[in-house]
Symmetry: C2
Subunit: 227 residues, 2 copies
Amino acid sequence: MTSESSKKHPTPTRRISESTIHRLSVYYRQLAILESEGYHTVSSKELAKREKLTPAQVRKDLSFFGSFGTRGLGYPTTELKQKIANILGIDKLWHVALVGAGNIGSALASYKEFAKQGFELNSIFDNDQRKIGSNHKGITISDIGTLPEALKKHHIEIVVIAVPASNAQKIADICVATGIKAILNFAPINLKVPSDVVLRTVNMSMEMEYLSFYLCNRHNIDVPGKG
Amino acid sequence: MTSESSKKHPTPTRRISESTIHRLSVYYRQLAILESEGYHTVSSKELAKREKLTPAQVRKDLSFFGSFGTRGLGYPTTELKQKIANILGIDKLWHVALVGAGNIGSALASYKEFAKQGFELNSIFDNDQRKIGSNHKGITISDIGTLPEALKKHHIEIVVIAVPASNAQKIADICVATGIKAILNFAPINLKVPSDVVLRTVNMSMEMEYLSFYLCNRHNIDVPGKG
DNA sequence: TTTTAGTTGTGAATGAATTCACAGGAAAAA
DNA sequence: TTTTTCCTGTGAATTCATTCACAACTAAAA
Ligand SMILES: NC(=O)c1ccc[n+]([C@@H]2O[C@H](COP(=O)([O-])OP(=O)(O)OC[C@H]3O[C@@H](n4cnc5c(N)ncnc54)[C@H](O)[C@@H]3O)[C@@H](O)[C@H]2O)c1
Ligand SMILES: NC(=O)c1ccc[n+]([C@@H]2O[C@H](COP(=O)([O-])OP(=O)(O)OC[C@H]3O[C@@H](n4cnc5c(N)ncnc54)[C@H](O)[C@@H]3O)[C@@H](O)[C@H]2O)c1
């Protein structure tokens, strides 16, 4: 009997693995495809087949969040898609800010998929005087000095960091101090943030190194995740 | 007794987890930092502390590939860094081609880190007549029609796909048919490749969705990977 | 109505990854 | 030389994730 179980909260603290969360994203995309193909229901078997997973995995993942299916029939496509959107929180609008309007930052600012998923990028920051004040896809690039006040003013919940590695920690610290709880980092560095802030780092060099490792070792090592 | 064990190959087939490979990349970066800070040796304890891992994890990861340390002393910084570079295959030059010279493709073509790690991007392909023949960072953009012959001519081992999702499978198929064994994909789609081809997909929307999930569920769910 | 086929949801079993715990060895201090 | 301190390498134990297997239920056919 933990202190947690004495609370009347409807959903007690459970542990959901990172893999399960990523698979929810995968199911969401596949459900959109199934929906467009006209399927009203889909079985765990079919969903699993399309994503090279096991039906049990699909059912177990979903069961962590509730009972969405009908025995003998499967899951209602549109409803399940909506349920997953709700679980992932992509049925609402998120306010996103981008720091660093360089090569990768500019690409991200032009990325349409984000907006489609409800991630509204409406603030861009840089410290380069030549960029500050200029317009990028309809968004004016602001001075990095205004970051704290702007994060609050625009109710930013998620910050994307796309500055050189040497400046990334400094930006992260400002975000944390301003109350940001979610950061997506593209700088190849291990940022330090408090445990109540979620940080995801996309490190493309590490992905390349994984490929390189596989090419070198595929004959003597059984590498997972291939295929 | 498998057919493998009858070969005289020094390293029989073992299973190395994806996490272990990623951590090798992480150790490599941290060793470079330790080296620059003047450390000649480093203990699993120190390495673990800097990456928020356990010392046992560090030792176990390294032990899959050999015994690199000295009891009572630790690991020799420079030597271990070199050993890991060799395991990951980043002590050699890899020939990389990029398909899709759009927003993200252009950013990747300008990315200096790749070259530093031995990933030489020397071919770019597109199907847009306005882009073909133009120069990007000293590399002429080639017609996508010439992809198969160019991959062979330039001994390309790794292909980076940065085209719209609708065209990505087509490009992957051409690469596979030409004998490519490693693909880094940026299109948000589940590409199908044979089991002897290693595919890594960087899906930024999924990373955003992970952040969104965390923001919605951090009070009732114990989400891993935060901190 | 009864039977048959199909599918979920979930405890139990299995498998994989991580951590523990300590023998074995190296260096430094006594 | 002997003792103490420190740290690796690794089997065993543990924790975590996946898969199995089946009761419970639905819909459709007989
Ligand atoms: N280019 C790529 O394809 C790529 C790929 C993966 C990762 N990255 C990483 O993303 C980051 C950015 O890379 P890039 O190629 O876009 O570099 P870049 O130099 O083109 O862009 C960096 C931008 O950040 C701005 N900046 C620097 N310090 C700042 C600060 N303190 N506050 C606000 N803005 C600041 C600069 O003015 C510049 O506009 C780097 O950490 C890089 O390693 C880039
Ligand atoms: N822009 C981003 O920040 C970003 C982020 C994550 C993922 N992505 C993904 O990366 C891919 C590219 O995105 P983008 O924003 O750079 O798009 P883009 O439209 O700017 O670039 C796509 C490029 O691919 C070329 N192309 C299209 N079909 C081709 C073919 N069959 N052969 C060769 N070249 C072809 C186009 O001419 C264009 O130059 C998309 O799948 C997108 O979802 C983009």
